[in-house]
């Protein structure tokens, strides 16, 4: 049976990758009007990277071939 933690890993990794991609795009193409406070901190870059890293860790550690 696939572990619940593997599903969580997939969710965090995919969401992290999407957020990181959106952040990198904004980093390369800064919008004229960012629309958010503290835009210069580029939270979507580092928060996306954190989620991606945790997600990949969970995917690896709880991969079906390792837990079955």
């Amino acid at each position: 049976m696939i572990s619940i933690w593997f599903f969580i890993g997939i969710s965090l990794a995919v969401n992290g990758a999407l957020i990181l991609a959106a952040g990198v795009y904004q980093l390369v193409n800064p919008p004229v009007n960012p629309g958010v406070v503290l835009f210069h901190l580029h939270a979507n870059v580092w928060w996306g990277a954190v989620l991606l890293a945790i997600g990949l860790l969970y995917c690896f550690k709880f991969a079906p071939r390792r837990t079955s």
Binding site: M1, I2, I4, F7, I8, I10, S11, L12, V14, N15, L18, I19, L20, A21, A22, G23, Q26, P34, G35, V36, V37, L38, F39, L41, A43, N44, W47, G48, L51
Partner: protein, 567 residues
Amino acid sequence: MTPLLAAAVPTQLVRLAPIDIVIVVFYFALVLAIGWYLKGRANTGEDFFMAGREMTAWVAGLSFLSANLGALELMGWAGSAYQYGILATHWYWIGAIPAMLFLALVMMPFYYISKTHSVPGYLKLRFGESSRALSAVSFAFMTVLMSGVNMFAMAKVMQIVLGWDINFSIWVSSLTVAIYVTLGGLRSAIFNEVLQFFLIWAGALLIPILGLYEAGGWTNLKLQIAHRASEQYVHLWSGLGSFTTNPMGIHWTGIVFGLAVVISMGYWTTDFLVVQRILAAKDIRSAEMAPIIGAGFKMLVPVIVILPGLLGLAVLPEKLVPESVAAVTGAHSYNDVLPLMLARYCGPGLLGLGVTALIAGFMSGMAGNVSAFTTVWTYDIYRPFINSKASDHHYVNMGRWTTVIGVLISVGTAYLVMQFASIMDYVQALFSFFIAPLFGTVVLGMLWKRATGSGGFWGLLCGTLCSISMWTWVKVDPTALRYVALSPHAKGLAQDMYQALWSFITCVVVTVVVSLATKPMSDSQLSGLVYGLTEVPAVGDVPLYQKPLFWAGVVAIVFVILNIIFW
């Protein structure tokens, strides 16, 4: 739960980018995929209704917490933090932690050893069929109505925050929940609740991090709040010596005896919506550890709920107003503080994750209601009173159909509330009527062997009637609040605390008096159900750091330290 109902629809708070839509759609696809994957593992009654009783302590504990961590809870209490300050934290700390530890160390062994499927099922074993019938019917009826009320509130919030059509929100969320719970039963609900727990944290944790950065740290935040509101907004206990020296208009006796001793004990130890998750644990140690793990994380929840509300007080340029004023003026209400903070800090991608966290919160609460309703209907109403001789396969099918029907009743309730908004307040009030006296009945049943079946039934009934009477009295004559809540300065939340306290006391007194006047039950009838007549199995020969008592002590110490720090 704080009522969350916006009557007016001002401008939509946030606008999603395509990447945000992708994140939301991915979430729906994943929860449905989990339900589909688990459909082959819900073929027996134990699998469908109790998740095979094979959940680890971590899964059961996070699910236990997640079932309570609905988005109405998040948004409502963030709004309360904006309105009342850090006092709202009491509902997460003293209003939860002692009760969770009490459940783990005192009550869970009896639930677990009796192998009951539900809380009404325990009442049947301890007090007989009449007590089970009373609690099962009231729980099933109110759970499915509450699910509908929450569904409508969710759709309303989605309309305000995102501009989504109410019908779209109601049908998409309810059908998704119906599909994954029908396919995988409680196991599917639990798996998705754990997933939702992670998403809620991933989506909401950035707000306090960036908010504290903007405010210049905790010390500066306190100064700004003192300047814009009052110094009492950042103190947990120091203003509770009088009804008039704190923003909530409540006395410490209401918080300690009403909230901590009665309401939270009632909710966390007898509301089957949350207790069901613990009953699915794989062994007695996991069943005891699960609420302790839940308590550890519960202490952290104010970081993503209360802190954003306090940060809103300090950094938002506009002044938020009560719902009644917002409905007239079109200004933002207290309950908008969380989405406003989300929109303030979260750009493309992060906004999608934040919105997904809110949707996940709504759906975990709805799935919790539906799976609990399904179990109580099938095992505590249908099987004992309608069809007691059917096969296990028949009851599983009944569970699947009940899931669908429960969701449809919830949808119907949501549309009813849309037509008659006042129903929402009535349903929320009705639900609270049963919690406090039910705790009195269950705890006496577990700890006092002299309590009899008649005592349990009449105590539960009289406690409930007492609660209804007080609520009706205040509804008819609002000045009666000074008698119910012991002060003319008391406000709505204070009424809830004292109403619960009086109904609990009534339940206990009636149970004791009737029990002493009726024939005691024999020891053999009470074996495995009552303290003193039950041999609680040891958790095994495990190291200290794996013992529930050790971790309960750690949680209790941290709880005390936190209360002292924020005194």
